[in-house]
Symmetry: C2
Subunit: 324 residues, 2 copies
């Protein structure tokens, strides 16, 4: 096809022409990846197309209430008319769900909102100004002329709510809320989505977070906490239980930077960093082989918890000193 | 004045005729009380009126960022043309901020959204269908023809966000979100309000909540936790630090009922109860001299923590047995 200056029209034409579509979300899928993929899938089915959704990793428990979640596969089907990468900032983010052999020669449509996305499809529908990929999908579905069903709206609102942490991230503007109004009016159950996304935790999380809260240390504006594999096992928890913990630590007034160290197998430690505006933890994560954004970054470092903690605290102190 | 069938017109006429207005929020003011009062105050000042805001208790720390918060007094002025009770479900909720002698003979306008409000003013502008009193104030300001300034919008959006716990309560509908769009478009800083309302905690809260999480017990579907005065003092915290804790406990999957027992001076214990739909903790709180709603209730009981805990757990077991 010949690309125009309007990627939304190009995307709509690709989708309109396809009889079967393979949608692919990113590895370790979140609400925006799953919500965008399932929302678009239901719209395309309403257009009479055969649609499959794949993610390299399983759908998290908190998203399994979404209509169609149980049909998400970990691999793609052979020979679809079109492949769509959803919420993936680059080709690698599709992981093993993108089987290059199975999908050889098939056109690729990229739908995403990540600023770092340089485009890797035959058509790239990328808008870094929106807070969630589901907002791009919402416009695309409207462009396709598919009526917004409650099923579609539920998937899309879930992506919007999870990616903005319940309308709390700095990129939540009145456009986000206006899209939420559209989706609620189409039948998306706001309260249920909020409850599924933020209102439910297992007892083991209470125990694990409690012990982390009690053992956390505040040193020179850095609030740090360590979680060993034994801590996780003793609480009867899993690594997923720690999701959101570093964000919570970052809400503490006295902390300029929050640091969570999570012990992994094979003498490795996962390092998560959050900062208040004015600090740049991406530099610190980058110096240790990781990356991310100014205010939220991470890396994986070899060593024991205490070794890695000493390294990261030193790197942070240098960065904070350089700033002062 | 002669009351019409349209309390909004009556309220607008009362306000329009007044040269000086005393606004009064409820005791232990929350974001909706302060936000409604300050939002309306700024609108009335834009109309050229002299306006004072009073609450019997001080403005909580988390609301002190609101424009005008520092001018809220704990007592009312003498002889205003009009008194307005804001977000108060009955006359007693104004507490000592309503000085009957100072305000004798002054007309009273009631603006509120509580279902239990039977009306106690000369004009009662009450709408239990909205999620926050600030939504009623928003319509009233529009009726008055006052342009929505960023200052007014900031106060009103804060009430809407705090009363819906960040758009998470079951009464959050698309009308709430649509009002939030209106307020954001008028210049209310959504992200800052979210951050002020939910994104900041002192270090002592992390310690106190951590110890409560670790010591909480799950028994027959009841998740209970005790906080002694010593616990609070040791964490360097205050009673305010426990705000929201019982709601958090209620998010635990395994809990049908969450119970928080907080030791008070003089051998008394504050009891807070939350339940999942299907249970009725108002009955239990009522049997112990308190009250509340089906899913959220409380009481104050004489006794030690362990005595009161035994009493409440027994009453809960009976209620849960009766239901089974």
């Amino acid at each position: 096809m010949s690309a125009t200056m309007n990627p939304q029209s190009d995307a709509a034409r690709l989708l309109g022409d396809a009889s079967s579509v393979q949608l692919i979300g990113h590895i370790s899928p979140d609400g925006d990846a799953i919500g965008s993929a399932l929302g678009l899938a239901w719209a395309l089915r309403d257009m009479g197309k055969v649609v499959r959704v794949a993610c390299a990793d399983p759908v998290p428990r908190a998203l399994q209430f979404l209509p169609g979640a149980s049909e998400v596969r970990q691999t793609s089907i052979a020979g679809p008319s079109l492949v769509v990468a959803v919420d993936c900032s680059d080709r690698q983010r599709m992981g093993s769900a993108y089987d290059a052999q199975m999908l050889v020669g098939r056109p690729l449509l990229v739908i995403d909102h990540h600023e770092s996305n340089r485009g890797f499809g035959d058509v790239d529908l990328i808008d870094p100004k929106v807070a969630a990929t589901t907002q791009i999908v919402l416009r695309l579905i409207s462009h396709l002329g598919v009526p917004l069903s409650a099923t579609i709206a539920t998937c899309l609102l879930t992506g919007l709510i999870t990616d903005t942490q319940g309308f709390r991230t700095p990129n939540t503007d009145s456009g986000v809320l206006a899209d939420a109004v559209t989706l609620c009016d189409a039948g998306a159950p706001l309260t249920e989505i909020m409850d599924q996304s933020f209102g439910r935790s297992p007892m083991c999380k209470l125990r694990l977070w409690g012990s982390v809260f009690e053992r956390s240390c505040l040193e020179n504006g850095v609030l740090w906490a360590e979680v060993s594999r034994q801590d996780v096992a003793q609480a009867g928890a899993s690594s997923e239980t720690l999701s959101g913990l570093v964000n919570y630590l970052a809400t503490i007034d006295e902390a300029q930077v929050a640091l969570l160290l999570e012990e992994q197998p094979n003498n490795r430690v996962d390092v998560s960093l959050r900062a208040r505006p004015g600090y740049n933890v991406a530099v610190v994560a980058g110096s240790l082989g990781g990356g991310g954004h100014e205010l939220a970054a991470g890396c994986q470092v070899n060593g024991t918890l205490s070794e890695v903690r000493a390294n990261v605290l030193e790197a942070l102190a240098e960065q904070m000193l350089a700033r002062a």
